[in-house]
Each structure stands twice: as structure tokens, then as C-alpha cells.
């Protein structure tokens, strides 16, 4: 039977603001199915976002939701989680939100290893404000602010998260909606900070300017240009060269922040 999204959607909030062909909706559906797969209780689940097209997502889903300020989904999430560590806290953010204005929070939340799952809707651009280059816009690509090519180099979300100490790190794409769903579920189940780099598309402000074809072509591009890390190990180097690696890059048991915090409270005889 087809998955019943209606149970998780706030009907009064539709239609959504996303452009036709925007992949944010596909990522949202993967998140919903992942939550369903894990079996989270709706009233014990909080979805937190910053500002941007991606960050509109919590408005559409029927959980406790918090639409905050640009770049701050993680500090707000941290506050929620610390106040009630029993809540399931999921943060969503665009690449600009998570890594430019919110970049500082990103690395520190990785370092802290608090039990929050972050899904980065990584479309390589500031969608909402009209296609300015973001920290994940590839070098040389066109944006409204780089009409002759981006002179900056992009962050690799996976490497950044691993370097900063996140204990669960994975990457999938809007084409690989089912593996993405699995990773998100895995991240939710993982105790610690989980970062899922969800590669998606902004046909309106990025695809069109860079002549990447239709919205469907852009999704198809992920199929042809990604390789799972497990498969990559077995393939000859020329088959992996220039491809984006997907899969689970790190899954590591590591003391979680709220637990460590509780231990200190216990040790000093305080009340939690």
C-alpha cells in the first residue's frame, strides 16, 4: 500500500511555497517516512529549522515545530534537547543556513555530540533569496552574485562534520530517496549528533543559470554521478574519479552530551 503522508501533514498549510521541480519536497517525504519507520511518537518529536526554502519544511508537518532565525536551527535545537532530553529533536537546514551564517553552530554541535539529527538540504545555493552562491556552490559555478564563476571553494559537508567530531555522518541524494530515508532513520536511532548531507536541487535559481537541464535532469544527474562508498572500494579508480561518494561515512559510539551533563549533575549532587 502506498505510504499515507496525510497523517503527517498539516492540511491547512498546503499548498507549499516550493517551486515546481524543487527537490526539497522529496527530502521532506524521506524525513516523514524515516520518522514513521523509526516509530517516533508525534507529540514527542520536535522539528526545528532556520530560515530559507528548506526551512519552510517544518511548517507543513504535523509535529512540534519551531521555525527560528536564519542559521540558528542547531542552537535552538540544543536548547530544546537540554530542556527535555527525552524529546526526539530533528533539525533541518539549507546549506546556507547550516554552513554560512550557521557554520559556527554546525561545527560546535558536531563537537558537542548532542543527540540531535540534522538534515542538510544541500542544493548548492541560497534558493530563497535569489540564487546567491553558498558555501557549497562548487568552484567555478554560476550564481547571481558570481556571473563569471564562483571563485570560492565549497565545503564538503561530510568531511566538515567528520572533522568537527559528529558521531554519525552520511550522504544521500534526492534521487536516492529510499537510501536517504534509511540514513535519516539510522541517524535518528543513533545516540549522538547525526549529520545527513541530503543532496538536492534548486532548478529555479541554480539549475537554470548553470544550464543543468530540467528539474528531472538534475535529479537524474545524481544517479549518474554518485557512487556508494562500499561499491567505490571495489571499483577501478577511473569509475570513481570525479564521482560524489554517498553512504554512511561514520557511525561511532561516543559519549552523548545530555548523558555527560547528567553525570556531572549526579556527581555534584544537583537536581536535573
Amino acid at each position: 500500500m502506498a505510504f499515507n503522508y496525510a497523517e503527517y501533514i498539516r492540511p491547512g498549510k498546503l499548498p507549499h511555497i516550493w517551486c515546481p521541480g524543487c527537490a526539497h519536497g522529496t527530502v521532506m517525504k524521506s524525513i516523514i517516512r524515516a520518522i514513521d519507520r523509526v516509530g517516533l511518537e508525534k507529540d514527542r518529536t520536535v522539528i526545528v529549522s532556520g530560515i530559507g526554502c528548506a526551512s519552510r519544511m517544518p511548517g507543513y508537518v504535523d509535529f512540534n515545530t519551531l521555525h527560528t532565525t536564519h542559521g540558528r536551527s542547531l542552537p535552538f535545537s540544543t536548547g530544546v534537547k537540554l530542556a527535555d532530553p527525552g524529546l526526539n529533536v530533528i533539525a533541518v537546514a539549507g546549506d546556507g543556513d547550516a554552513l554560512a551564517i550557521g557554520g559556527n553552530h554546525f561545527i560546535h554541535t558536531c563537537r558537542r555530540n548532542i543527540d540531535i539529527t540534522l538534515i542538510v538540504f544541500n542544493n548548492n545555493i541560497y534558493g530563497m533569496t535569489g540564487g546567491q552562491f553558498s558555501p557549497t556552490t562548487p568552484h567555478g559555478k554560476l550564481a547571481s552574485t558570481t556571473p563569471y564563476g564562483n571563485p570560492d571553494y565549497a565545503f564538503d559537508v561530510v568531511e566538515l562534520a567528520m572533522g568537527a567530531g559528529a558521531s554519525y555522518v552520511s550522504r544521500s541524494t534526492a534521487y536516492h530517496a529510499i537510501p536517504l530515508e534509511r540514513q535519516i532513520a539510522d541517524g535518528i536511532n543513533h545516540k549522538g549528533f547525526s549529520v545527513i548531507d541530503a543532496l538536492c536541487t534548486c532548478p529555479t535559481t541554480y539549475g537554470r543559470r548553470n544550464k543543468l537541464g530540467s528539474a528531472v535532469d538534475m535529479i537524474g544527474w545524481f544517479k549518474d554521478n554518485t557512487v556508494g562508498i562500499k561499491a567505490a572500494g571495489k571499483l577501478p579508480p577511473e569509475k570513481v574519479e570525479g564521482k560524489i561518494l554517498t553512504g554512511v561515512f561514520r557511525k561511532e559510539e561516543k559519549p552523548e552530551y545530555c548523558d555527560e551533563y547528567a553525570k556531572i549533575i549526579e556527581k555534584t549532587g544537583g537536581r536535573s
Partner: protein
């Protein structure tokens, strides 16, 4: 020769910055300011403007970049809107205290919550006491002119202060109008290159923003306050020179419309003045002696000019377009300044305030007519019944 173009306020600000030969531009997108940075990025990319264009990773970084550039001696230009303006709040006092005359274009926008993109003055009004020159333009022409004039004023050795060059989001920033673009040579004659008296220079090292002891604080604060006391004279000179050089007709501090025989006036800032002029015309047709006074500089607040102007009328109504929650007058900000300016005037007119134009709402003609009723009554009675009226909610 000056040429004419049809520009909205955002593009007009960008052209003003280009004509001012800004050397470093720092940006971060947020509507409606985005229009300014987009136009500038195009001008830079197309080689029309020789400037460094840097995209910050947020407004805090963006204003810090402008600070650094100005400290190194460059003419620096940045800008923002709404929550972007408030996010960078920490940087404003250091730039003013460091006496760095960079310019920040503001296309204003309501603050959150609940996430409203419309025009409202509260964003940068919240920064009005940080030591920046600030004022609103009423149309795209004035945006361009102010951009150039503000650099002239801010960079004057008697002033050395950063500037918020403000325009109403959308109403001015996104509605095109005819703009006369002056000739580059004429602008160069008016605005000489920026000469930072204390630039960061490896051959002659100086310190900017060092830690001080508490007893050194008041003296530095007094210097900044003194700069604001000296600024009005510089504004008068800069505006007079501008009028002469470019054939304009700006009053330095106030635009008065139909005030010669007015019984009461609307007192406001920015683009709503355009509707106010229509409202005044219509009211006049009905025999109501209305007028309008538009403030061109919020900082330095032109106390004497305001006192002189407003003491002529029988009643004054400020149109707030910004909020001061819990303030003395329980509504907006302008009324505080206006009542203070009139305090020492013998028999001052009664002053009330109107909360209108918030969250991007148009201040409609109908609203002006209902405000006119309150002010007609106040002029008759010689007093006002309320400090503040929330237009459309109160008994207005």
C-alpha cells in the same frame, strides 16, 4: 551630462555607491536589500565599477568586513534589511567609536516574528543610538543623492562617523521612478577620495579598538557625542554644496509640504511622504488645512529645526512606522524626539502619535483622513486625548 534612468531604490542606491567610487563592498542576501547587492555585483562583474566585492557568511561578518576595509582606508559600502540589520548589531558601536565612516544601505523590513517581509522602520531604528548618522529617503532619486551626500558628511574630518542610508523596503526600494544620474566628473568634484586620518598602515602602525581603562571611557564617549553636535553644520554645508552642484533643492533636515498656512501637520520619515502629499492635497480640497513635515535626518536629530518648524502649527501627529514597546508614549519612537524638541518652546502644539505603516502595511489615504480628524480636533481643543492611536484598531 547627467542622464535619466528609470530605477527603483535598490538600483538607485547601487548607482549612488558606484558614483561615490566605493572601493570595498560586502554583502549578504536578505530581501529587500538583496536588490542593492545584486545590482552592485553586476556592476563590478561587468567592469563598470572597480571595487572589491566580498560576500560575507552573515551580516555580522559583512559589517565587520566593512569595518576592516574602512580602517585600512578604503571607502566601504555594505547594507541589509530587517533581521540582518539587527543580527549585525554588535558591530555598530565599534564602527562609530572607531570613527570609521563606512556606509550601510538599509532597505528596511519588519523584524520577526512572525516573518514578515514588508517595510517597517523598527529594524534600523533599533540601532539609532549606536553613533551612526541616519535618515530616510522618500524616493529613488533621494536614495541616490543621499548615498553620495552621506559619504561627504560622514567622511568630513569634523565628523568621521558611519552612516545608515535608509529607504523604505518595497515602497521605495522596489518601485521604480525617474532618477537623474549625475555625471561622474561632477560627483568627483563634489566627493573627494576618502582620506582616513588614521589608516592601518604597516609602515606607520596604529591601533584601532584597543582595550581601555574605565576612566578613559567617558572622554571617548564625549568625543563621539561632540561629533554629532558638530555634524548638523556639516550637513548644512554638504546639502547646500550638493544642491548647487547638481541643481537639487533639498532642505538639509526637513521637507515641508503645504505648511505655510497649515493648522496641523503629519510628521514622518521616508516614502509614506508620497501618500501624505496626496492626502494633504485631497484634504485641502475639502477645506482642511493639513500639511506635512518630513524628517530627513533621524541622527543627528535636528532639534532646533524641528522646534522652529513644528511650533508654527496648532497640532502635530507623528506617523511612527516603528515600535517602541513600553516606551514613554506607549507606541513609537518619533513622538519622543518631537516632544523633547518642543519642550522648551513657549506654548508648544499638542503632539500625538499614530501607529501606522507597520509590517509592510501601506498607510492609505483613508488612514490619513482618519488621522486628520484626530488632529483637527486636537487643533481645536489645544490638547490631545491620547499619546498614541493604533490606526484601524483604536477609535481613529
Amino acid at each position: 551630462m547627467a542622464k535619466e534612468m528609470f530605477l527603483a531604490g535598490c538600483s538607485s542606491a547601487a548607482y549612488g555607491a558606484m558614483l561615490s567610487r566605493v572601493e570595498v563592498i560586502s554583502s549578504y542576501p536578505i530581501r529587500p536589500y538583496t536588490g542593492i547587492m545584486m545590482e552592485l555585483s553586476k556592476l563590478v562583474a561587468n567592469g563598470e565599477l572597480d571595487a572589491e566585492f566580498v560576500h560575507g557568511e552573515g551580516e555580522h561578518a559583512q559589517v565587520s568586513i566593512a569595518y576592516g576595509a574602512s580602517a585600512a582606508g578604503a571607502r566601504a559600502y555594505t547594507g541589509s534589511s530587517g533581521v540582518g540589520v539587527t543580527y549585525a548589531m554588535e558591530c555598530y558601536s565599534p564602527a562609530a567609536g572607531g570613527r570609521l565612516p563606512c556606509q550601510m544601505a538599509i532597505a528596511d523590513r519588519a523584524l520577526d516574528p512572525p516573518g514578515d517581509f514588508g517595510s517597517e522602520h523598527t529594524d534600523v531604528m533599533s540601532a539609532r543610538d549606536q553613533g551612526w548618522i541616519m535618515g530616510w529617503a522618500a524616493d529613488p532619486q533621494e536614495v541616490l543623492d543621499n548615498t553620495i551626500m552621506y559619504f561627504k558628511i560622514g567622511e568630513d574630518a569634523r565628523v568621521l562617523l558611519p552612516q545608515f542610508c535608509c529607504q523604505d523596503g518595497y515602497f521605495v526600494s522596489h518601485i521604480p521612478g525617474k532618477v537623474s544620474i549625475p555625471d561622474q566628473k561632477a560627483v568627483d568634484e563634489y566627493l573627494p577620495p576618502f582620506n582616513n586620518p588614521h589608516p592601518l598602515d604597516p609602515t606607520k602602525p596604529v591601533s584601532h579598538g584597543p582595550q581601555i581603562f574605565p576612566d578613559q571611557g567617558p572622554a571617548i564617549d564625549l568625543q563621539r557625542a561632540q561629533a554629532f553636535i558638530d555634524t548638523p553644520k556639516v550637513i548644512e554645508e554638504a546639502v547646500a554644496d550638493f544642491n548647487k552642484q547638481f541643481g537639487r533643492n533639498y532642505d538639509p533636515f526637513l521637507e515641508e509640504y503645504m505648511t505655510d498656512d497649515a493648522e496641523f501637520v503629519f510628521f514622518l520619515q521616508g516614502g509614506h511622504a508620497r501618500t501624505a502629499r496626496f492626502a494633504v492635497n485631497h484634504l485641502r480640497e475639502k477645506g482642511v488645512k493639513a500639511g506635512m513635515v518630513r524628517l530627513r535626518f533621524m541622527r543627528p536629530f535636528p532639534t532646533e529645526a524641528v522646534a522652529e518648524s513644528l511650533s508654527k502649527f496648532k497640532a502635530v501627529g507623528t506617523i511612527e512606522t516603528s515600535t517602541s514597546y513600553g516606551g514613554a508614549m506607549k507606541g513609537g519612537n518619533l513622538i519622543h524626539e518631537v516632544r523633547s524638541a518642543l519642550y522648551d518652546v513657549p506654548n508648544p502644539p499638542p503632539v500625538t502619535s499614530f501607529m501606522a505603516g507597520l509590517g509592510g502595511e501601506v498607510v492609505s489615504l483613508e488612514e490619513f483622513y482618519s488621522m486628520a480628524k484626530v488632529l483637527t480636533q486636537a487643533a481645536k481643543d489645544g490638547k490631545v486625548d491620547q499619546y498614541v492611536y493604533w490606526v484601524n484598531f483604536d477609535k481613529v
